[in-house]
């Protein structure tokens, strides 16, 4: 089973061995082994929490400790693509 991870904007550059040829998000099917939370995904790609802003798991605005399960869809937005959510909503953690 895998997790669909979508990297947006400049964060795409953090994913090695993927050439960026357009402005579409980068979609990675990630093996779920060893991935327990969003923090684990960030660690895998050497992304620091400060480089991110909005994080979504299956449409839920999430924090770094949100648990990830097989088949989940995770959206990770960089700091310079933040709008709306941080100012309205709390991040869901588990």
């Amino acid at each position: 089973m895998t997790i669909l991870v979508k990297f947006f904007g400049d964060l795409r550059k953090k994913v090695k061995n993927h050439e960026i040829t357009d402005a579409l998000p980068l979609k990675i099917q990630l093996k779920s082994d060893g991935i327990d939370t969003i923090a684990d995904i960030l660690k895998k790609y050497a992304i620091t929490p400060e480089e991110t802003h909005h994080l979504f798991v299956n449409g839920v605005y999430s924090g770094f400790d949100k648990k990830i399960h097989d088949g989940d869809r995770v959206g990770i937005f960089p700091k310079n693509m933040a709008l709306l959510y941080k100012w309205y909503f709390t991040r869901k953690n588990e």
């Binding site: 839920v60 937005f77 709008l83 959510y85 309205y88």
Partner: protein, 578 residues
Amino acid sequence: MPKKMLRVNMTNLEAKFEDFPADFAALGGRALTSTIVAKEVDPLCHPLGPSNKLIFAPGIVTGTAAPTSGRISVGAKSPLTGGIKEANAGTPFSQKLARMRIAAIVVEGKHVGKDYYTLKVTKDKAEFINANKWVGKGLYNVYKELFKEYGNKVGICGVGIAAELMGAASGICFNDPEGLPSRYAGRGGLGAVMASKGLKFIIIDETGAPGVEIANEEVFREGIAKLRNALTTHDVTKPGGALNSYGTSVLVNIINEAGGLPQRNFSAGQDDRSEKVSGEVKAEEIKKRGGVRPHFCSPGCIIQCSEVWTKPGGKDPVGVLEYESVWALGPNCGIYNLDDVGELNRACNDLGLDTIETGDLLAVAMEGGLIEFGNGKGALKLMEEIQKKTSTGRILANGTGFTGQAFGVTRVPVVKNQGLPAYDPRAIKGIGVTYATTPMGADHTAGYAIATEIMGVGGTADPRDTKKSDLSRNLQIATAAVDATGYCLFIAFAVLDIPEGLQGVVETLNGVLGANLTVNDVPGYGMQIIKTERDFNKAAGFTEKDDRLPEFFLKEKLPPFNEVFNVPDEELDKVWGS
């Protein structure tokens, strides 16, 4: 020279300057338009008859050196909702008006007969010029010709073919700094109100204007420095920040991930084809095509979220493609091609249509079987129906509710007959509460300034939680206050994170007005505006039953996360305690 008001009587083509009433001294923008409408317009009048009045008012600090403050409010009784309406836009027109010390233009009466007029306003004169030669023409060419005729330093406001049809989807169009007819006070059919009076354009020539009077220069300058500092350092508003890099369309991918980007007339909340019309794709295309990005809607803006979208090769500039416009004319119609979206946006600007209402009505027309979802070229053909003033065109020009009724559609996304914007209320329930309860009809900007900190409520909420009355009320009150200042709503992101920035905003207001307001005065000021508007709507016949979302949002689950709008009616009624 004190501020004045220009009263324009279209019945007998008279315009005269009046003293600005002393009890209006602290009012600007929405505070002023709504106050004048409430005071002078019979709530039961026909919106397109002689008793309605159309008010234009720049904000309190508009026209000064205060950054990002080029907004103008337009108010009247709305032919779309039947209630009070304020719509606003960022445009150099507003700044010129303010520098001439014209606090408001009040257009009243109704010209008998079929003639249209241009009102030309200079420092101490207002004159009427027959405008019949522009009737039936698209605004892109007309604005070009008007700038040739009146000089490229004037400001232009006008209405298009949709307004000539008295269409309730028509907006009022202001020029951007390039002279394009692309900055709209779009919502609520105010274009039709202007056209109903026989007024086609207002030309502002500020030659010799004295500039905005600043009562306390020192306080004003200190306030500007604080606000400027907040705007240039905050991640959302700074150069290279979210709005500056991608424009408001940065939200396409964000709201799609959240499952709240309405697809095909609000039948799903997520579709990854939306990635093709995202802010990132648009920004890259603009660079390739030789358009302009970033760009400001009015001089002096630090955020600069605007842009000039063009056809390939930099041809035929359209102006900005805002997030809500891209959504309305794109994913909401099942269209995932930026060139089609751009041409539909051009058609809206050219015909004088509100892009949100147009996207909603096109999607409803698609559901009603006029054309298939996703048929961009077909949608452009429907725009031609409006341009040709056919019967179908006349139906469409009257908005989403009217179109739904004409074509037997039951899933019609409107509140108070105004089409819903780009955030599905089933996924983002707080915005749904604002759609339901704002006096404006479904309007995202009515509760967009995020105000929990200002109002002292504290904390943020789960978007799917149903306890949203406090949040929505506070947002609406704060937004009403911002709409009076002339500042763009987007300063809110910076000044709510950086308290000195908010202090700076208040200091700039004090500097202009010679007042001693504090941050704590903001809620009372905003609440007074909302109260004025709600009292008008009540007298026009609105009850709490009008503060509801359409039935299908309550019953139909929104894929892929299968939410419904389950905020109870009692929670909606708690917003205003009605």
